[in-house]
Symmetry: none
Subunit: 252 residues, 2 copies
């Protein structure tokens, strides 16, 4: 295994970045660690000469960057998605330290894609954005002053990914030998939509606040990192509920 | 041992820094990781408003920074001095990776002081400067593009020092601060029995071979390590299905 076997499967996703200089700094940090894939969700200013200047000859990363409209588009075909942030969530998400995140990424089968998502500079990731991720990664910064700038946060996580990629070839306990193909984030998103629709129809969820229960289901499925057979079984179970509800209602 | 027991014994030494913005970025990177001691050897411009602006509220580090004339003065009272650089030396110096450097620093007696030295932005450390160090530390960057800027290099080494200072305390795979009590094996067993009963009643599972699907649900729930709220929500969802099935069947 060469480092690029892992690093080429990682994409860095920046959400709604305000300052183009930070996009350039991100490209530079990525390239120093051998990462290549940058996806920008609705950047305020891009392309930008400021980004090119700050990238300091990492402009090939900027040239190849993909710009999309939504986080869902950015990660739809990924299998393991981590959101960055140091905020404690109302509903705590599975939490990794950078090194563990990188080791987990390394333990995944070679067919899987990984996304590391960074929020907007001033607000970080929202709860809704974090819920689209399998886990949260937190840099264990000084609690009295945890404000890494965007480029520095990318640098630290990219560094850990590179260290994991360089790591010795010892067997990592993990899911490299899983028996089924992993679900993509798009699969999960459709499953969650189906789940909410079904249990609204079945009058289990509060129509005014379906999230109360759905956030917890979402978190459960996120950390389980579903495979495709599991998604199919769960979808089948939801369709079963749909049919019984329709039958009972039709007979009313 | 608290992190500051190690971090307070570390000083960051910048040699002949050209751009004051890099001094500010260094202060910020240091403070995010809990380092406090900055020594500047003949900086081109210091103090500087640019440094203060880039430090982003880490100006207490700048205010306390010590300015000296020579590297010898900067490190005279230190016990372990590492120079940074990715160049191979004519006479190879003892070479550490960042993590090994930090582990070594942590292994030193509490009475010893440690210095991490960074060369001028454009030329790095000279051979003469490196010879004043006990060892060289090299960030294992992309060999095709190894140009971390000064602030990023400080960020990575400070991060490793912090990780070493946090020691085993930081080995938390995720769930130390989970919000709900974990489910017991008994809870899981009853959930699985309910699940199978419900989907047999709903005619989703094959009565002759319910395990085909249930084994996969079981494995999914096992690796998710459910908490009690999650068990309750899933039980509630199963009971919902039970009611709709009963209602449809009653009306037949």
């Amino acid at each position: 295994m060469t480092p690029s076997d892992l690093l080429d499967r990682v994409r860095v996703v920046l959400l709604h970045t305000t300052h183009p200089g930070n996009i350039g700094a991100t490209a530079r940090a990525m390239k120093t660690m051998g990462l290549r894939n940058l996806v920008l969700v609705k950047p305020k200013t891009f392309p930008s000469e400021i980004a090119v200047a700050r990238s300091s000859h990492a402009d090939d990363i900027l040239d190849a960057a993909v710009v999309v409209e939504t986080l869902a588009e950015a990660i739809g075909d990924c299998h393991f998605v981590v959101g960055t942030g140091d905020r404690t969530r109302t509903v705590p998400w599975p939490l990794y330290r950078p090194r563990e995140m990188a080791e987990h990424a390394r333990s995944l089968p070679a067919s899987q894609s990984i996304a590391v998502v960074f929020g907007r500079e001033d607000i970080g990731m929202t709860n809704d954005q974090m819920m689209q991720c399998n886990a949260q990664v937190q840099i264990p910064a000084n609690p009295d002053y945890s404000s890494l700038n965007l480029g520095s946060a990318v640098q630290v996580l990219a560094y850990e990914l590179r260290m994991a990629a360089l790591g010795d070839d010892q067997q990592v306990p993990g899911r490299r030998d899983w028996d089924e193909a992993p679900a993509t984030q798009g699969d999960i998103e459709r499953l969650m939509e189906h789940w909410q629709r079904s249990y609204l129809g079945a009058e289990f969820l509060d129509p005014n606040n379906p999230k109360a229960a759905m956030t917890r289901i979402n978190r459960l499925l996120a950390r389980a990192e579903l495979d495709q057979i599991e998604v199919n079984i769960l979808r089948g179970m939801l369709s079963t509920l749909d049919r019984w509800v329709a039958r009972a209602k039709a007979e009313d």
